[in-house]
Symmetry: C2
DNA sequence: ATTATAAACGCAAATATTTGAAAATGCAAG
DNA sequence: CTTGCATTTTCAAATATTTGCGTTTATAAT
């Protein structure tokens, strides 16, 4: 099956510099190459590609899902909910959990990009103190 | 700080039977108790509550995020991307990973509800065969 | 009780996303 | 090349979500 032109361009966009783009960002950038493309074409293409495993979709706390090309080093992210900092972590420990769950539950994992939210080192104790001073629930 | 009435009702809704509700479902159900409530009030309340850690937000592959009250047994889900089946798994192995990552990256984990996508046992080999017969990329 | 301040809410407008149905395109078989 | 079928795209309309801003409500201080 030949890949549609929109899909090709989207893959190209997502291949630039480990891009994590939202549907809107993709739509906007696409318009500079295919000026008349319709938004629903983009949404449907993204849906298709995600289901086909060509791209991954994740919530990185930006308000909308971000899309990423699959391939390259498998990795995962820790996202700080206070300052938005994104740390990339290696696959190994996550992979171990996944393999364990696959055996345990006879489940074939598809998720290959984990996003975990929390507070980075910088945002930890300082915030606690601030909160203690400011609010009293 | 006193909790707003909308927040109280939302918490009540989410406390019924391990509910995983979308914003729309919450909005609809809320209207039966507060007929004149405005959608933006609901969206803003959900955002507030999520940020305050009163509820958790996750993508269970239903097209929209689902909200859940926190508290009760910590658990996670395996969601089958073919048939939509949802398995609940115990916290322990996930918790071990989280504790490891916290130590390793000095990161304080907030995520407490993991959703992992894949294929359940029923949807595994059958689909492979079907695909092999049907498509030839 | 009165006033000041911040949080929550409603409303209307702007955006974003989804959906159904028709037109266009690509591909394979005849 | 022409027909048939499946996929992709468009368009318009329906939904869903977000945003700015003015109003109300709650809370705390005077």
């Amino acid at each position: 099956m030949k890949t549609s032109s929109v899909e090709l361009i989207i893959l190209d966009l997502l291949s630039q510099e480990q891009a994590h783009l939202t549907a809107q960002e993709i739509y906007q950038q696409l318009r500079s190459r295919l000026p008349a493309v319709n938004p629903s074409t983009v949404y449907r293409a993204l849906e298709r590609m995600a289901h086909a495993g060509k791209i991954s979709v994740s919530d990185m706390g930006r308000g909308a899902m971000v899309y990423e090309a699959v391939g390259g080093e498998r990795h995962h992210h820790l996202v700080c909910q206070e300052c938005g900092a994104v740390m990339t972590i290696e696959d190994q420990p996550v992979n171990e959990l996944f393999r364990y769950l696959e055996k345990q539950y006879h489940f074939e994992m598809i998720t290959n990009h984990l996003i975990l939210f929390g507070r980075c080192q910088n945002c930890q104790s300082p915030v606690q103190v601030l909160k203690a001073e400011t609010s009293k629930e």
